[in-house]
Symmetry: D2
Subunit: 384 residues, 4 copies
Amino acid sequence: MLIADHPWFQRLRNIMQMGVAHLVYPGAVHTRFLHSLGACHLMGKALDELTVKGIDTSIEDRTAARLAILLHDVGHGPFSHALEHSLIKGISHETVSRIIIQKLNKQYDGLLDKTLEIFDSSYSKKYLHQLVSSQLDVDRLDYLSRDSFYSGVSEGVVGYDRILKMFTVQNNELLVEEKGIYSVEKFIIARRLMYWQVYLHKTVLGAELLLVNILKRAKELVAAGEQLAATPALAFFLNKNISVADLEQNDEAINQFCSMDDTDIITAIKMWSTHKEPVLSTLSQMFVQRHLYKVVLNPKDEQALIADKQNAVRRALGLSEQDLSYFVFAGETSNSTYNAQDAHINIAMKDGTICDISEVENSLVNQTLSTAVTKTYVCYWQAK
Amino acid sequence: MLIADHPWFQRLRNIMQMGVAHLVYPGAVHTRFLHSLGACHLMGKALDELTVKGIDTSIEDRTAARLAILLHDVGHGPFSHALEHSLIKGISHETVSRIIIQKLNKQYDGLLDKTLEIFDSSYSKKYLHQLVSSQLDVDRLDYLSRDSFYSGVSEGVVGYDRILKMFTVQNNELLVEEKGIYSVEKFIIARRLMYWQVYLHKTVLGAELLLVNILKRAKELVAAGEQLAATPALAFFLNKNISVADLEQNDEAINQFCSMDDTDIITAIKMWSTHKEPVLSTLSQMFVQRHLYKVVLNPKDEQALIADKQNAVRRALGLSEQDLSYFVFAGETSNSTYNAQDAHINIAMKDGTICDISEVENSLVNQTLSTAVTKTYVCYWQAK
Amino acid sequence: MLIADHPWFQRLRNIMQMGVAHLVYPGAVHTRFLHSLGACHLMGKALDELTVKGIDTSIEDRTAARLAILLHDVGHGPFSHALEHSLIKGISHETVSRIIIQKLNKQYDGLLDKTLEIFDSSYSKKYLHQLVSSQLDVDRLDYLSRDSFYSGVSEGVVGYDRILKMFTVQNNELLVEEKGIYSVEKFIIARRLMYWQVYLHKTVLGAELLLVNILKRAKELVAAGEQLAATPALAFFLNKNISVADLEQNDEAINQFCSMDDTDIITAIKMWSTHKEPVLSTLSQMFVQRHLYKVVLNPKDEQALIADKQNAVRRALGLSEQDLSYFVFAGETSNSTYNAQDAHINIAMKDGTICDISEVENSLVNQTLSTAVTKTYVCYWQAK
Amino acid sequence: MLIADHPWFQRLRNIMQMGVAHLVYPGAVHTRFLHSLGACHLMGKALDELTVKGIDTSIEDRTAARLAILLHDVGHGPFSHALEHSLIKGISHETVSRIIIQKLNKQYDGLLDKTLEIFDSSYSKKYLHQLVSSQLDVDRLDYLSRDSFYSGVSEGVVGYDRILKMFTVQNNELLVEEKGIYSVEKFIIARRLMYWQVYLHKTVLGAELLLVNILKRAKELVAAGEQLAATPALAFFLNKNISVADLEQNDEAINQFCSMDDTDIITAIKMWSTHKEPVLSTLSQMFVQRHLYKVVLNPKDEQALIADKQNAVRRALGLSEQDLSYFVFAGETSNSTYNAQDAHINIAMKDGTICDISEVENSLVNQTLSTAVTKTYVCYWQAK
């Protein structure tokens, strides 16, 4: 069986790339499966360009790099953000991807040895890892292009073909040729735009927080001994607090994880929408009817707003004080356009020097953009 | 609550427009929700054009027509083709759409009276029905454009904006102006291409037949007293043979129908893939692993091919003779490019006459294209 | 000097691909230079595909084929249609292309020997000629795509990438694989649409006939001894009736031809618009002010229409009877969608047989489409 | 006669929008005519949006604003940059546009009174002028989109539809709503990219300087009494030094200007390429054969480079020392991404304040981008 046909990978067909964003951008229903295929395709093109430029890559390197990017998201659960904050707390999808690739490596008798090295950046040709994961990798080139295409936010379009042509390698480091600098600037700005306009759109944020709260409540109820309808996989994670060690050592844990996708979550929420417990059923109905939380970004007077909305919820829903926090709450979200502390985007200047993009003269990407921007929010239920 | 927010309509968010076609064209994961919104948008544009041309439409007409197209697919079940041949036998989605619109009409106190008239073509302005349902309606204009876009089969692209501009009305009949004839020809050819290249692609056909067989087997097992894991909605339809009268008169039937979507089917198949009954679990595993039937179109020697494949299945799977038909079987599929018996595409000629497009001099659309083309197939399991 | 930098080829930068069509589709100002580069690019892709399929092509073959398509339009004069009917009567651009390629071959010491063989279809690998010139060649694939793109008539878009992938070769003949048949059908229909909607658009036709008449009148005046302002190249062709033999044997003739482009015609018409001779100046002013002829296609009563328009012209312009024909006249134009007498489009069927596309069962391309469609027209001056 | 049919406006059909840039980006042959139509279309859309938002515009305002943008480039000569530095020294195209609009206003009996007020920003509704000419006007929205489309530099694409929707007006000032800020950022970056990658591309720059030098030399020769072949319009400007006052008061001057376009320049250069004077003929041949200057940007040792290239030219072309400067010379070019001194892009913040985009917190557009970036160059002839 080809790795791409393995049910652990096919599972990504049922996990939407943009989670709940389709509740705002209805076309954005593309899957992580599609993104993985696309990123793998771009990796092939990137390696072709490097070959043309005389960068020495063997067939084995190329296959390993393509498998690394194909599998880089295999550890994503359904609606990852929600999951990482509720069902499977504090375990990143990268960690799960590594565990799954290791297990696949055993099933395929070491076929993924070099893939793992690339994934972990322990392989000497460091640029292969940088193509998989850095601030200008084929992952981002694919998802920005794809998310723009499917959401219809055409401004997020990225000139990936030109950027691929500008890649080069020196001392095993991935670089961008100087003449590609304007394309890279545009890539960074497109990503910035996609973050604030799409990924962190306030209604998308509200939908995501609704999902987090549904799963959080479900887990509380199960912990309190309540019976909740759920598929076997979801039931497993509702009942247990899973650690990284469990995923590594407990076959059932990883098998259950790898059989869970968006459909497990959606069918559960549909069933929970008629549950007798009012918080769970109210939240679930909100999801089913797309009656999403309202979100105010950077509110002027946060405390007053919260108090006001709590009163409205008390009057309308008549909940206990402790359950109020499911319907009115505050938080914050942040993003940085370019992170100068993270893996750099390095430019191969015509004069032979190498320069971080944020240090190139007259560059767009400078101190200001490197600072993370944080926005606070108040999120609340409102009658339809 | 807006009709578009009603959970019966929101349900279409979880029903893919092209069913299982994404197993061949991985980008084709767009939903019936999106198509319904799009068709509604095109209806608005079509009515705008007619208004510019002095065709008298009232606000009420316009709203009713837009609701008619918005709701025209609300009766689709998950993977409709599979359902109509297995779960809910012999009930077309148009029939269910009408029942649902009628029930919504009661919930909304008669708001949909005129919408129903348009849907049923009993309203005097017949062109409104023709815009909803004919051989050149906004339904087809949207789904051809959209399916092309998402599948990446760019050749199916339809110049819908120009066709909309060519619409006109005489004696309450929808017509196309003579100068739009080449655009209409191209629309018909694009549809022909999408049918043979995408909708009836042999692997898509194989995937659909796999789904039909899974549900058929599940229903047989349930009828024989077997317990099968399933969501409440799916369990309802596995246990009962539902008639049109049930959907009309039995509130539970319509409620269960309207809470069922692709996720009910997918979670069930995932659970059934470990069921002890070998036919159900084998078929379900095939689906989960994208190990699809092979399909041969118009085989030269059908009987010999079937016998040969049956032997292969006997050797590999060791099934009873009566279960063989789940793994090797024959059938036929057909499509006509233009159906001269169906609602005509009429052209308003410059000389004032009206002419069926298949009768225009030098027209592309003639006798040949009006004949349905039928292809036979043999479909079989093959080891991976 | 590269052949692409030769001034005879660079000249194509100043010759618009679609002649006067930009007077109706203002974006359609792309040049024959661009089309030639594009067709050359497609030839490279077509040959790549054939190589992948194991069709044996040498580097020499590939270079020669790419040069043949690069130069296939080098014999086009400015506004070819007008020229071929007025300035350089009865000499086709293919004839001139061959003469120019022969002369370039001498300048480049036989570099184009094989290119000429391919151009003339005397090379054994006949498919190379068919890629350059047949009913499904890279010339048509490029110009249909390009003309659609620049004119904005998106319906003419052709899926050239898929068609290129469907090319194959048997016995040195170019074939299309059976599974590409729907793409070829769509190509043929796109071409049909572009002809009737763009190339033979009645206002485009009127603009072209205006140009023909301007040059015809200018030539008459020169023949009568009148002095007309013109560039040296245009003056040469206004003063002489050039034959094929002249172009072949007279160096001045070919040099003057190869230095003439759209700018020679346009500057002349601007200068002639103030000439004292009323027919020449009126026609030239019409061109400069985009005051084009009106055209009626397939008029019901041609004679009556002509008489009526002649009266209008007599009253408004007061011309001599013999000059009336410059302002009111009739003619006809025709096009066939697929010419079964011309080089066939042959399909490689899955069963091993080869079949003309018009003979494939259930094919769209049949007798009807093979018949040329002829339209008559009346063309006349009308006051602004 | 409609203003759009006036020969002074139709003239723009023969003036390419991007001048000589098509010598590098061969698709970029679109015209100022097309750009003017497109900008006029965007103006209509912008005004529609403002009307929807309740900004009061009368039919007269709307017509005047659309005419102002339709005519804003009517004063462009052929290859403007070259002209403004050689033929018609020191007269900007805006100045000429105003003169032409004034003269048209007389011909059309005051029809353009309000158009002139908008053009000059003397009309009270200042936002109409800002839509015609500011740092975020429909002129830029159209030309960036159009130049990207035709050049194929897809990264320059601008989301003009969204920006138009974000326009608003307060106190007669054009503003952008706060939620449009990311789209405006992307517009500014797209413009920055187009400048450095396309408009100031070093080979484009070299081609433009070649044209400047050809016309400069031609003018010198004419001043020295030499006879040069040229159309009447071009001859007029070669023979006379035209001032703004001439264009305003001398009917011949403006008439000659308005009959000159790219074709006058191109035909002249073709004729001059065989002239006996070696500098003029050599430069003209370079243009005809696309044998362009080489350009080195920001050279390390400018003096050494110049000396080296001068020696090469002396050896190869054997020119007099004073003519050397036509073949080897230095200069500089500059551009600023956002000019904080120029007409501001003002943002209507959600809290009711108005803020220059460069002062918005966390904005991309800051001090750095407001500084003009200057690049020096050395430009020289090199043997082919």
